[in-house]
Amino acid sequence: MAEVVAVAAESLAGSRARAARTVLNQVVLPGEELLLPEQEDAEGPGGGGERPLRLNAGARSRVRVVCGPGLRRCGDRLLVTKCGRLRHKEPGSGSGGGVYWVDSQQKRYVPVKGDHVIGIVTAKSGDIFKVDVGGSEPASLSYLAFEGATKRNRPNVQVGDLIYGQFVVANKDMEPEMVCIDSCGRANGMGVIGHDGLLFKVTLGLIRKLLAPDCEIIQEVGKLYPLEIVFGMNGRIWVKAKTIQQTLILANILEACEHMTTDQRKQIFSRLAES
């Protein structure tokens, strides 16, 4: 363990920026600078090998690159701020550059605009509800931000209810605000989550893993028995099944599957399917 740290410190002390392309899917540490593909030619070893002749050497065509969570802009380069694996996504419809981000793991949630989260109503003051989302401050939710809510027709929300909503304002300078409707005014599944069920907390990385399009865990879980799950990007999962025992089994599976290998998981599922 100490050797790895020493090696890493050595490479950082050298502080020569590496090309982002070469470190894809590898572990990066905070403080590293990464070069974008267009800058590699200029910074590369001078005179080593043939340089491709460019007709317009002065004007380089720049592509818009998006730097996602875990990365920051530092001049023309990307600065890593979280430790994890560097990922890249190619642009789908050709609008420049693609996305780079760091796949890290954490338990503490920081509100981000556009995220769908599960919150617990903690207070009702005048026209707004205070909703605890696991961040540094409780988010505010206006009573008009529900589908079909008017001044006369108030939504039926009590203290202690679970709310599934999304953030409209979420930055480090202001109190986060959430709503339970989308931009067209429709609920789209947001709002108060029904009675019963169980709410528990997991790490943020697990949520993203479970919500990936090709997640096997969810497909296998769905074959066990009828159930309902709601995932909040703030690390909270709400599950409900027909009996309490089934709900508890489901909660235990989802919590444990973070640290299980594929074989262990399959064993457990086959045992469950038998019983």
């Binding site: 592509v63 996504k89 996305v99 399009p213 309902e228």
Partner: protein, 160 residues
Amino acid sequence: MAAERKTKLSKNLLRMKFMQRGLDSETKKQLEEEEKKIIGEEHWYLDLPALTEKESFIIEEQSFLLCEDLLYGRMSFRGFNPEVEKLMLQMNAKNKAEVVEDKTEEVDVSDEEMARRYETLVGTIGKKFAKKRDRASYEEDENGDVKLIKAKKMFLKPHD
């Protein structure tokens, strides 16, 4: 005579809109420039070189939605909550941007037939509301449609 000596009009009067309608475009431009000069000298401005913002090609986003295609957060399996299952199909289809083909509804009656029917309808309903005298001016066409043939008798103003 009054027309020999031209009255001198003040500058403010000449600057008014109704006095400028008759001027050429050139004189108008000159007047505008003079106005700008007058205003420009009085206005305060910063004596700094124009700072050009460096165009950055890197956009910072803190959201994971852009990075990974995540499914919709509410899920229901084996019919536990049918509304959520419908929502699942809807939202996940939106993510993958599937093209939903609009099935054109089959029309029972074609548009041309509708137009024809309405044409004759006007005649039959009009006949119902016409006075007894005017009913004579409605006659049946070759196709059996009721149409107004003659012009209705209107009140004629008496000539002097």
